[in-house]
């Protein structure tokens, strides 16, 4: 049963919060390893942004997947697309300033909203070689708005200093299981805390200084409609996969 009075699961809260950031008429892209953005984009198109253009790394345009895959390069994401472009075409779209929103993430994120997806420790001799930033170094400065998401919110993720700057650029919001940052003047500021998250908990989970207190707004709880549409789009719960 869907009960909006109960506290939403973190994945539902994140997907809904990310969807609310999208607007009708925007071109919106997600790349590899992006289940939450995939769900959030589809959710937005079924709720308040029917004229959003959904682009993904498969080259599909406004696909209506029958089942949501965990791999976000899966051919399932081609379903019902009426045209097919290439990843190079999508990068070019961003390069010429015509991509409105790109969803990106980071293993480390700093107070400026810069990300590290390259290496922990020394870059040349890393303690942990990370997967790499995929499209981010090019997309982050060229997409009009970048929405970062990260399912871990702890001091090792939100750090004072990145071990390596994989990408920097037009970050607009950062959505986590604890709340939402908005970037103003190149600095992440707490926009809202998700329901049930205390200012102290948020502060302790963040490795750089944040202004947060009793006056900090609370993210609106997902509505019954948002959750019903989310379940209809994603009956298998792919939205949970990044929390495994």
């Amino acid at each position: 049963m869907i009960d909006s009075g109960a506290r939403a699961a973190p994945w539902d809260m994140m997907a809904v919060a990310m969807a609310r950031l999208l607007h009708s008429g925007e071109t919106v892209f997600h790349g590899v390893a992006s289940p939450l953005p995939m769900v959030a984009i589809l959710l937005a198109t079924h709720l308040h942004a029917p004229d959003l253009t959904y682009l993904n790394i498969t080259g599909a345009i406004d696909a209506e997947p029958e089942r949501l895959p965990e791999s976000t390069v899966d051919p399932a994401l081609l379903h019902r697309t009426r045209a097919l472009v290439t990843l190079a075409d999508l990068f070019d779209l961003s390069a010429r300033g015509r991509l409105d929103v790109a969803f990106l993430s980071g293993v480390q994120i700093d107070a400026e909203g810069r990300i590290n997806l390259s290496a922990i420790g020394s870059y040349q001799h890393p303690t942990v070689r990370l997967p790499g930033g995929a499209g981010s170094a090019m997309l982050m400065p060229t997409a009009r708005r970048v929405i970062l998401w990260r399912t871990k919110h702890d001091p090792r993720t939100f750090v004072e200093r990145l071990d390596f700057v994989t990408a920097a650029g037009n970050v607009d919001r950062v959505v986590t299981p604890l709340g939402i940052f908005a970037r103003h003047d190149h600095r992440l500021e707490v926009e809202s805390l998700h329901p049930g998250v205390t200012p102290d908990a948020f502060r302790e989970a963040t490795g750089f200084a944040v202004a947060v207190g009793p006056e900090t707004p609370v993210t609106s709880t997902p509505t019954v409609e948002e959750l019903m549409v989310l379940r209809a789009i994603d009956p298998g719960g792919v939205v949970r996969s990044e929390f495994a």
Binding site: G59, A88, S94
Partner: protein, 273 residues
């Protein structure tokens, strides 16, 4: 039209040690799995792998000691499986050089090769440590006050691509997303095409626009049914999650990875060529 058919073993035998190979597909999808396994069986070494986003291909070839460098924007199995453990180990121990790219700079490097120019401008990259780490230079626009990053041409010695259908001359049809396969075919000095099935190309004339890779770019064609496995090959099969899970369980430990490779790939009864 010449008949370019060869066995998988014959085709892969033409790849020299130390070659820069572009590997088709993307993460878990339509990689040339059979050719990758044959590279392992033939014990190639010193390879540089070029790909925007690799997974099992890069990981396995690193575990098998075939790789000197990886030029890629992303190496990982995405959310179903996470990071590539053998690639990680190989880079962290200094055996393999991570020539990190943004996916767009891989494409820009391939485009420079395709267009016969030494480098290619690419938008973005500002604020990233990547240009300094990789030696990507910013140059002045000769026509304005602007500067732009340029990446050097990335010319693969061989592109190895798996397609759903090809003819004996090497015309290759791709169903669904083409990924960077067409760019790789254009940029590479030589192209090896493996195909789910080889058909009479006369039928291709009815819809030549469905041919992604034209024969004149292709040197060798290999009939490789199930040849993307364990990658997906739409609409024929999805990626093999059970196999990839078993590989990943082994790949976290170099000894277990070697044992897995010996049992599953090198053993005569394993993966048929």
């Amino acid at each position: 039209m010449s008949d370019k058919r060869a066995t998988l073993a014959e085709a892969v035998a033409t790849v020299p040690d130390g070659a820069r190979i572009a590997v088709g597909g993307n993460t878990l999808h339509r990689g040339p799995g059979a050719a990758v396994h044959e590279i392992v069986r033939q014990g190639k070494h010193g390879l540089e792998i070029v790909k925007t986003a690799g997974a099992y291909d890069v990981d396995l070839l690193c575990a098998a000691g075939c790789v000197a460098a990886v030029s890629a924007g992303f190496v990982g199995y995405e959310t179903p499986f996470g990071m590539a453990p053998a690639y990680r180990e190989a880079v962290e121990s200094g055996v393999v050089e991570a020539r990190e790219h943004a996916c767009a700079t891989v494409i820009a490097g391939l485009r420079a090769a395709i267009q016969g120019v030494p480098f290619m401008p690419v938008a973005g990259l500002g604020g990233s440590d990547l240009p300094a780490a990789r030696g990507f230079q910013a140059v002045a626009d000769p026509y304005s006050e602007a500067t732009v990053y340029v990446v050097p041409a990335l010319t693969p010695d061989v592109a190895i691509l798996h397609v759903q259908e090809a003819d004996a001359a090497g015309n290759g049809r791709i169903i669904g997303t083409r990924f960077e396969d067409v760019l790789m075919a254009q940029a590479a000095r030589r192209v090896i095409l493996t195909a789910e099935r080889i058909t009479d190309g006369a039928a291709f004339a009815e819809a030549p626009e469905s041919v992604a890779i034209p024969s004149f770019l292709v040197d060798t064609v290999v009939a490789a049914p199930n040849g993307a496995w364990p990658f997906s090959c739409t609409p024929h099969y999805g990626y093999d999650a059970a196999y990839l899970g078993a590989w990943l369980a082994a790949a976290r430990d170099p000894d277990a990875a070697r044992e897995f490779i010996a049992d599953q790939i090198l053993a005569p009864a394993a993966v048929s060529a």
